[in-house]
C-alpha cells in the first residue's frame, strides 16, 4: 500500500484510541472563542465586526496546541527511528501523518466554526466565507506547524519554543484568512484572498514534507 495512506491510516487509528487528546484542541478552540463575547462590551455590531478575526486566532492557537505531541510520542517509543531507517520515503510517511493530524484538528475546527459564528451574530453569507477560509487555511497551519514540531522533537518542553518559532510564520495565513472576512463584509470580491490561501497551501504541502523529514533526520542524529 501507498506509504502516505499507510501512515494516514495508522495515525487515525492512534488518534481515535486516544480520544482525550483528540477533542482537546476542539474544546480549547470553542472556549477561547467564547471568552471574547464575555469580556467585550455587549454591542452586537462590535462582535460582528471582530468575530471572524477572533475565530481565526482561536483556530491558530488550537492547532498550535496539538503540535507538541505530533512527533513526540513517535520519538519516545522509537517508531520514529524505525521510520527513518526504513526504505520507505520518510517525507511521504510524515506527510500522511501530518494530514491525519490536520483532519483530526483543523478539519474538526472548521466544521464547528459555523456554530461559533452564531454566538458572534455573524451574518449567514459570511459564515461560508469563514468556513472556506478555515478549510483552506488550517492545512497550511498544520503543515507549517509540523516543521516547528519536527525541529523541537528532542526537547522535553518544546511547546513554547514551537509557538515562538511558528506563530510569526502563521501571520500571512491569518492576514489573508481574516482579511477575506472584512472584505466580504464590505461587499467586495474575495477571490484574490482565496487564491492566495490556496497558493500558500500548495507551497506548504510541497515543501513542508521535505523540511519535516530533514529536520527529523538532523535532530535525531
Amino acid at each position: 500500500m501507498n506509504t502516505l495512506l499507510l501512515y494516514f491510516k495508522r495515525e487515525w487509528q492512534l488518534l481515535f484510541r486516544n480520544t482525550g487528546a483528540l477533542i482537546q484542541p476542539l474544546v480549547f478552540f470553542i472556549i477561547i472563542a467564547l471568552l471574547f463575547p464575555f469580556s467585550l462590551p455587549a454591542e452586537i455590531t462590535l462582535l460582528q465586526k471582530i468575530g471572524g478575526g477572533i475565530i481565526w486566532v482561536a483556530a491558530v492557537l488550537a492547532s498550535l496546541l496539538s503540535l507538541e505531541n505530533m512527533f513526540q510520542s513517535d520519538y519516545q517509543d522509537g517508531t520514529l527511528e524505525q521510520a527513518i531507517i526504513h526504505q520507505r520515503s520518510l517525507e511521504m510517511a510524515m506527510l500522511g501523518k501530518v494530514l491525519a493530524h490536520w483532519s483530526a484538528t483543523g478539519l474538526f475546527l472548521t466544521v464547528f466554526s459555523p456554530l461559533l459564528c452564531l454566538t458572534f451574530n455573524i451574518p449567514s453569507e459570511q459564515i461560508w466565507v469563514l468556513f472556506f477560509g478555515l478549510l483552506l487555511g488550517t492545512p497550511s497551519l498544520t503543515l507549517i506547524g509540523a516543521v516547528g514540531a519536527a525541529i523541537t522533537v528532542t526537547l522535553r518542553r518544546g511547546g513554547v519554543l514551537i509557538a515562538i518559532i511558528i506563530l510569526p510564520l502563521y501571520i500571512p495565513v491569518l492576514i489573508f484568512g481574516a482579511g477575506m472576512l472584512s472584505q466580504s463584509a464590505q461587499g467586495l470580491e474575495i477571490t484574490s484572498q482565496l487564491y492566495t490561501l490556496a497558493a500558500i497551501f500548495v507551497l506548504a504541502i510541497t515543501l513542508a514534507p521535505f523540511a519535516i523529514a530533514s529536520a527529523l533526520r538532523a535532530t535525531i542524529n
Binding site: M1, D77, G78, Q82, H86
Partner: protein, 233 residues
Amino acid sequence: MTALAATHKTDSDQCLLQGHDLHCVRGERSLFTGINVTVNRGQCLHIVGANGSGKTSLLRILCGLSSADSGTVLWRKQPLANNVDFNASTAYVGHKDGLKNELTAIENLRFQQQLEGINDEQALDDCLAQLKILYCADLSAQALSFGQRRRLAFARLLLSSKASSKTSSKVLWILDEPFTGIDIHGRALIEDLCVQHLSDGGAIVMTHHQSLDQSGLAKYRSELNLEAHGGNL
C-alpha cells in the same frame, strides 16, 4: 587498527558493511577514534566496552541514524547517505522498542508487514508463536511487560526479515543489547534465531555485556573492544 579476526574472503559479495577510521565526539568528550570495522556475511560482530564507551553511538552510526564526526561507512562499497539498498537490507532493534502503545501486539506487527508491502495474517501469528508470545496477540502493547515488549520487538525484526522479497531481505541485523530484560528461555530463543540468520548468510552487529563464548553464537563471533580505541579530549 581493526580488531576483527581477519577473514580471508575477498569476494566483494561477502563484505557487507565497512567503517573506516570512525571518530565520534559527544559533547566535549571524544568517545572513540580510529575505529575500522568490516562486517561480512555469516559474521556476528560483538562490540564490547564499558558503559559510556560509545557502543550505542557506534551502532547508530553504523545503521545510519547518526553520522560519524569523521570517517566513512560504506554499504557494499557505497556510502550510507540516502542509500535505499542499505535501508532495505538492514534492521535495527535499539533501546526503544519501536512499538505503539495504543496498538495491540498483532496490530504493531501488521503495520510493519504492510510497510514491507505484504499482507499475510498467518505470518503474523507465526512470528508471535516463534517468540512464544502468541497469547499476547490481542493485548495492547501498553499492557505488555518489559520482556514481552522486547520479544515483540524481535518478532517485528523477524517479520521484516522474513517478509521482505528476495531483492531486499534484511541481511544485516543491528542489535543494541538484545538480551536486556529477556529471560533465559527467551535468550536461548533469540540466540537460535540469530544463529539461523547467520547460517543463512546474514550478518549481525550487536552490543552485549556478557561474553558470547558459551552461546551458540561463539563460532560466528568476532569482537571489537571500544576501550582499546578510547578517545581523549
